[in-house]
Amino acid sequence: MHETEILLAVVVATLRAATPLMIAGFGELIAERSGVLNLGVEGMMLMGASVGFIGTVATGSPILGFVAAMLAGAALALVFGVLTLSLMANQVATGLALTIFGVGFSALVGVGWIGTPLQGIATDIWPGLSKASPMVQQLMLLDPVVWLAILLPFIAQRFIYRTRAGLILRAVGESHDVAHALGYSVLRIRYLAVLFGGAMSGLAGAYLSLAYTPMWSDNMVAGRGWIALALVVFSTWKPLWLAIGSLLFGFVTIAQFQAEALGLDVSPHLLAMLPYLATIVVLVLISRDATRLKLNAPAALGRPFHATA
C-alpha cells in the first residue's frame, strides 16, 4: 500500500510538472508547423506567469487570471509577428529579444507582487469525488489545466492530421511560396499560429504562478520555455511524441522529490541540473539522425516570406 501511494504521488507530480511543458510546447509546435521559429517561449511564459498572477490576485478569479495571461503571451507574440512576419526580421534574433524583454518586463510588472500569498487553484472539479477511494481521490485531484494538458495531444493530433485547417497549416509550413501561389494568405495563417503559440505560452506560464507554485518570483519559469522548445524538436513536430517527451521531463523535474522519497542526500543544486542535462541528452539523441530530422521538420521553418506582388 505504501509503495502504491508513493507511485501515485510520483504520477501526480509528474503530470503537474509536465503540464506547462506540454501546453507551451504545443503552442510552439503549431507555430513551427506554420514555418515560424519563435525562440521567445521563455519570455512569453514569464509574461504569462506575472500577468496571470497579478490578474488573479487583483480580480480574485483564476479564470480571469488565465485569460489575462493568454492575452499577455499573445501580445508579446504579436510583437514577434510584426517584426518577423511583416518586417521580415531574423527569427532567431527576434525570438532572443522577446525572451530578454520578457525576463525584464515581467520582473518590472511583477515587482510589487513578490511574496504576495495566493491560494492554488481549485482541484475538486469532479462531483461526488469524496465518495471514491482515497487513491482515486488523489489521482483525480488534479486541477483543470492538467486535465487540459492530458487531452491536448489528442486534440492536436486530430487537428493537424484530420482537419482542413491542419492541412493548410502543414502546407504553409512546408512551402510558403507554393501556398502563396495557390492563393493562401501565408501571413494571416502564420500570424494566427504565432498568436496561438503566444497564448499557449502565456497559459503555461500562468499555470506555474497560479497552480504549480502559487506565487510570483523573478525568472520563475527557470528555462522551462527553452526545454519546451527542445521538446518540440524531440517530438519531430508530432503532438503525441511531444506528450511523451513532456511526461519524461516532468518525471526528471521531480527528481528532488524522488530523491527525498528514496532517502538520498544530494545537494539540491546538483539535482536542479538534471532537467537541463536531460534536455541536452534528449537533443543529442534526436538530432544525430539528421536525415530523419530534416524529413519531419517543416521545410519552411525559420525562412522569411516576402510576396513579390
Binding site: 521580415m88 524583454f101 525584464g104 518586463f105 527542445a230 543544486h269 537541463y276 541536452i280 513579390t308
Partner: protein
Amino acid sequence: MRLSLEARAKPARIMVWASPLIAAVGSIIGVSILFAVLGRDPLAALNILFVAPLETIDGLAELGLKATPLLLCAIGIAVGCRAEVWNIGAEGQFTIGAICGGGVALAFGGNDSWWLLPVMLLAGIAGGMAWAAIPAFLKTRFNAHEILTTLMLTYVSIQLLGYLVHGPWKDPQGYSFPQTRQFEADALLPMLIEGTRLHIGVVFALASVPLGSILLGRTMLGFQIRTVGAAPAAARYAGFSRNRIVWVCLLLSGGMAGLAGICEVAGPDGQLTPVISPGYGFAAIIVAFLGRLNPIGILFSSALMALLYLGGEGLQVSMQLPIAVTGTIQGMLLFFLLAADVLINYRVRLKPSRAAAGATGHA
C-alpha cells in the same frame, strides 16, 4: 493608401549605421512612455539614466568596468553570429571562467607568486573554452542545435556555482553566507586608475576590438567564417569545413566569455558568490546585434549598454525603480533595432489601395 515594403536593388549601406540610431531614438521614446506610466518624470529619469553617470571620473570608470565583460562577450558572440553559430550561453561560459580562475585564486593565492594572475586568467579562458567545447562537440558530432545546448549549459553552470559556494567552497568564516572567502591581494587584478574600480581587464577588452576587426576583415579564417554564415552551400562548395568553423567560433567566444568571467571576480568582486553577473552574457547578445556584429560598432554599443546598467542602478537608488527596468529597456532597444533593420533591404512605400489600383487599370 497602404504601406508596403519594396525590396531594394541593393542593401542601403547608410541604413546599416542609421538603423541603430533610429532604434536608439525609438527606445528613448518608448522608455519615456514607460517612465510616465510608472509615474516618474520622464526627463528627470532620462537624465539619471543617460547623463548623470557620465558626469564624474568615478562614473566613467564604472562605465569602463561594466563595458569590459560586455565587450569581451559580445565580440566573441558576434564572430559566431557571422558564421550563424549562435552562442547564447556566454553567461554560462562566463560563470565557468569565473569558477576556474577563482578556483586557482583560492588554491594558490597569498604566496605572492608572479605567475598567479596569468594562470588565473588562462584558467578562466580555458574554463570558458571547455564549457563551449561541449556544444561544439555536440553540434559537430551529433548535430544538436547550439542555441539550446549552450543555454541549457548556462543553467547547469549557475547551479554548479551555487553548489560550490553553498558547499565545498563556502567560506567557513562567512557567517554561513553562501560565498567563498575573499581572494588574497595577489589574486586581484591591478587597478588602472587609483581610487576607482577600473582594472586591467578593460585593456584586454579594448585589445579585442582591433583583433576582432582584423580576424573578420583581413584573414582567410574570417572570410571562411563569413562565408559559412552568409551562404552555407557556397562554403561547402568552396571546401570550407563548417565543423571547423563551428569549433573555432565556439572556442573563441567561450574563451572570451571565460576571460570576462575571471576578470569580473578577480576585479571588482574579489570572491565567488551565487550571482556574479547581472546578465552580462545575455546582454552581450544585444550588444553584438546593436554593434552590427562588427567589432568597432560593438565598442560603442557596449558602452551604451554599460550606461544602461549604471543608469538603471541610479534609477533604483534615486527613483526607487526596480532594477528590472534595465532589462526591459535592453529588450526594447533590440526590438527597435530589428524593426529598423528592415530599412536596410527594403524601402517603405505608400501604395494606392487595391481598389484604387484597379480603377487606374480600367481608365
